[in-house]
């Protein structure tokens, strides 16, 4: 069972995140960058499948030079090797273009299963499995809270409002995972040391046979035209509960014509 896990480096969702006014793209160079948290669940799931069924786990990242930190994290958790697509011409790419780059890179790898997180916390699009499935003609099994791989089939429980759908497809397939699927392991000291020696292959657009003019800001299918900070909320009222907290609360709701 050879598995490719798609990993993205993102600005930490717990820190201040910004757009760069120079070209309205995510300010990645100055951000507190981390591995997309959702991807850790995909890595964990890949390692679990590999431990049960054998094979190799390859991490695939499309991202700037700083993304090597996210790759190291994935390797220290236990992935075997990594492919990093690194090319400044990719900067400013929309989701449609990024999916073309990932699809081309997958074309150079052998896999039975592609795993990824159900969303990246920076743009929160949740579309990469759908885009890749469409491009590669692969079955899409997105939003998994449970995954079973057996007899050449992948089955998932797709998390839905108030329940789940059981869905299945033959391998090779692409699966995305929510944070309900498992508990990602912490890299061990041994894992961190071993990660330093694991192979990381760097590919450029030329290596993938992609024309530079088809990706990046200039030809993106969508663009951010302007942005602004959300106007701050006016000062609210804060009252201590001196036995009358409920009354004050209900009084506020009444003043707002809610009760």
């Amino acid at each position: 069972m050879n598995i490719v896990v798609l990993v993205k480096q993102v600005p930490d969702s717990g820190s201040e995140r910004k757009l760069d006014p120079a070209d309205n793209t995510v300010a990645r160079a100055t951000a507190d960058n981390v591995i997309n948290e959702m991807d850790e669940y995909a890595i964990e799931e890949a390692l679990t499948v590999k431990e049960a069924q054998g094979g190799e786990v390859t991490v695939l990242t499309v991202g700037p030079a700083t993304a090597t930190d996210a790759i190291r994290k994935a390797l220290s958790m236990g992935a075997d090797k990594a492919v990093h697509v690194l090319d400044d011409a990719i900067h400013g790419s929309c989701a449609v273009q990024t999916s073309a780059v990932i699809a081309a890179a997958l074309g150079q790898l052998e896999y039975d299963l592609v795993l990824c997180g159900a969303e990246a916390t920076d743009a929160q699009l949740s579309v990469m499995p759908a885009l890749l499935a469409e491009r590669l003609g692969l079955p899409q099994l997105s939003g998994a809270r449970k995954l079973t791989v057996e007899n050449g089939m992948a089955k998932i429980e797709r998390q839905t409002d108030g329940g789940y759908w059981e869905i299945e497809a033959p391998l090779p397939a692409i699966v995305s995972t929510w944070d309900t699927i498992n508990e990602p392991r912490y890299p061990s000291f041994k894992g961190i040391m071993a990660a330093k020696k694991k192979p990381v292959q760097t590919l450029t657009l030329a290596d993938l046979g992609i024309d530079r003019a088809t990706v990046g800001l200039a030809t993106a299918t969508s663009k951010v035209v302007d942005f602004a900070g959300r106007p701050p909320k006016g000062e609210g009222v804060k009252v201590p509960d001196e036995g009358d907290g409920a009354e004050k609360l209900v009084g506020f709701l009444a003043a707002q014509k809610i009760v």
């Binding site: 969702s13 717990g14 201040e16 995140r17 757009l19 948290e37 989701a95 449609v96 916390t121 743009a123 929160q124 949740s126 579309v127 759908a130 885009l131 469409e134 003609g137 079955p139 899409q140 997105s142 809270r145 998390q159 839905t160 409002d161 108030g162 329940g163 789940y164 759908w165 059981e166 869905i167 299945e168 497809a169 033959p170 309900t180 993106a220 299918t221 969508s222 951010v224 035209v225 302007d226 942005f227 602004a228 900070g229 959300r230 909320k233 609210g236 009222v237 804060k238 009252v239 201590p240 509960d241 907290g245 409920a246 609360l249 209900v250 709701l253 009444a254 707002q256 809610i258 009760v259």
Partner: protein, 321 residues
């Protein structure tokens, strides 16, 4: 006037279209004349067509087939792609559910277009508004290639009736072999709730770690029921097993934008704010006067939720009689 395709999201439990569909029809009117697209099992359109016409659908494309619901997402993207090719619409607007976003993405690849997800507003020139980074940044964006495809975030537009003809037109559904790759074998409902749907509710009452136990979530449910509200939970409450994951509000849970959001025993971490920051009125109950949730709150009570909330519930119920 230019035609704008609007994908209809159905409400299988209640029958009829979901409110998100009426919102999408309303938003689409900024761009042209909406045509609703109903994709579902035979007989689906009959139950929704009147509501679609009432909210501005000049046409209703009926794409019915016993097979479409058997497979995940791909058949719906195929039907829409076929309509885009035939009708050359000015844009496509889709309610922003997980399925809606995936359909939008696949449609973008099929039609060589760009797409924008979770937009909160669409201007007549096609410029969309998106909320980024936990609500901290408001972005205006545009599709620059092909037929613009938008997914509209729930509760960001108020549905407004605008009666139109709702003329039905049948669409032949042909599902390719590729679109049949992923089969849906079962749909399981685990929580049947009599409360409003979290993302559609006009009032949401959420509990956090401060609620302290699953049993004690009855305090949150009590307040919610007195207000006719939906119940939400923070991730800490979900991770602690107090409440099911499908009620999680925040970065990795649901995004809600109700008229009133009441946060009880929730500290207000940035990832929680991501899911509720655009609520119109925010109320917080927390025993820690320094809790960051108070920075957002229009009204806050510093106190123990176990005394404040049950008393408030009682008073509200009394008022409502």
């Amino acid at each position: 006037m230019a035609e704008v395709l609007v994908l209809v999201e159905l409400n299988p439990a209640a029958g009829g279209p979901r409110k998100t569909t009426l919102e999408a029809l309303t938003a689409a009117r900024a761009l042209g004349e909406p045509s609703a697209v109903v994709i579902g099992a035979p007989g689906t359109a009959a139950g929704v067509k009147d509501a679609l016409a009432e909210y501005g659908a000049a046409k209703v494309y009926v794409a019915e087939s016993p097979e479409v619901e058997e497979y995940l997402v791909a058949p719906k993207a195929e039907v829409l792609a076929q309509l885009v090719a035939e009708k050359s619409p000015a844009a496509v607007v889709i309610p922003s559910s997980p399925e809606g976003k995936e359909i939008a993405g696949r449609l973008a690849i099929k039609t060589g277009s760009g797409f924008l997800t979770d937009v909160t507003e669409i201007a007549p020139d096609g410029t969309a508004t998106q909320v980024a980074f936990a609500g901290a940044t408001i972005v205006h964006s545009q599709v620059t290639v092909g037929t613009p495809i938008y997914t509209l975030r729930g509760n960001s537009v108020t549905p407004e009736p605008a009666p139109a003809a709702g003329a039905e037109e049948t669409v032949q559904v042909q599902i390719s072999e590729a679109a049949k790759a992923t089969r849906v074998t079962d749909r399981v409902v685990e929580q049947k709730s009599s409360r409003p749907e979290l993302t559609e509710a006009s009032i949401v009452v959420s509990g956090g770690r401060g609620v302290a136990s699953a049993e004690n979530f009855s305090v949150i449910e009590g307040l919610a029921d007195s207000l006719g509200a939906a119940v939400g939970a923070s991730r800490a409450a979900v991770d602690s097993g107090f409440y099911p994951h499908s009620f999680q509000v925040g970065q990795t849970g649901k995004t809600v934008s109700p008229q009133l959001y009441i946060a009880v025993g929730i500290s207000g971490a940035i990832q929680h704010r991501a899911g509720m920051q655009t609520s119109k009125i925010i109320v917080a109950v927390n025993k820690d006067p320094e809790a960051p949730i108070f920075e957002l709150a229009d009204f806050g009570v510093v106190g123990d939720l176990n005394t404040v909330v049950p008393a408030a519930t009682q008073q509200i119920s009394a008022r409502r009689g």
